[in-house]
Symmetry: C2
Subunit: 110 residues, 2 copies
Amino acid sequence: MIGPGIKRGTAELAVLSVLEDGPLHGYEMARSIERQTQGSLRFTLASLYPLLYRLEKRGWVRGAWETSRTGRRRRCYRLTSEGKKRLSPIRKEWAELFRALKRLTKVSHA
Amino acid sequence: MIGPGIKRGTAELAVLSVLEDGPLHGYEMARSIERQTQGSLRFTLASLYPLLYRLEKRGWVRGAWETSRTGRRRRCYRLTSEGKKRLSPIRKEWAELFRALKRLTKVSHA
DNA sequence: CCTCTATATATAGGATGCCTATACGTAGGA
DNA sequence: TCCTACGTATAGGCATCCTATATATAGAGG
């Protein structure tokens, strides 16, 4: 049974997924998601930041302030081992949603 | 670019899809969606009815009161030609979301 | 007869997640 | 000087889903 949260949480899956490939700060995450999906999926920073705070509060990601060469302060997030562990069932839930919608309708998934 | 609405509207796609196979009343829609997805996707009637009113207001479905043999009154909804026309781009948008998430993460879609 | 379950529609109220708008601030090019 | 890119942060709004509740008929079992 797919929970209610899954039908929304696209951003959560996206963020955890890009963080799996290595630490990133918020601004770069948004860019990375947009680039990797060729512009299909975009999130505003205003939705990403609160999401990152939630994820950090849960212990799925950990943020650390750093200062770039140019002296700009930014918060670099990395996936925790807890977060890595949680990603797998989330992916399974999404796969289930895909299967369900595929059965119900005729959404191609090429 | 995937619109903001698409990341939710699972119910909309589901309802329009089951109505494509023939007219149904609300209660039966919920059963049909659950059955066709083998229980993976369920909606409460409390979310389906308001959705049907919205769809009817847009002219995508049309509801008609009918009385069953047993004398029970119920509202039978059918997909309008307008609704049929709208279903196709919605499916395309979902397919795009699937592709995007597939690229981003490693959601299997078997 | 009474109660329980299935059928059937309807609305109120709440939670959540994403949005726009706005704010603050640095760096670099025109 | 102004504009764009970079970078984080919060307030306020809206849509969609949820739970809870109301109403009402049909049929089965006690």
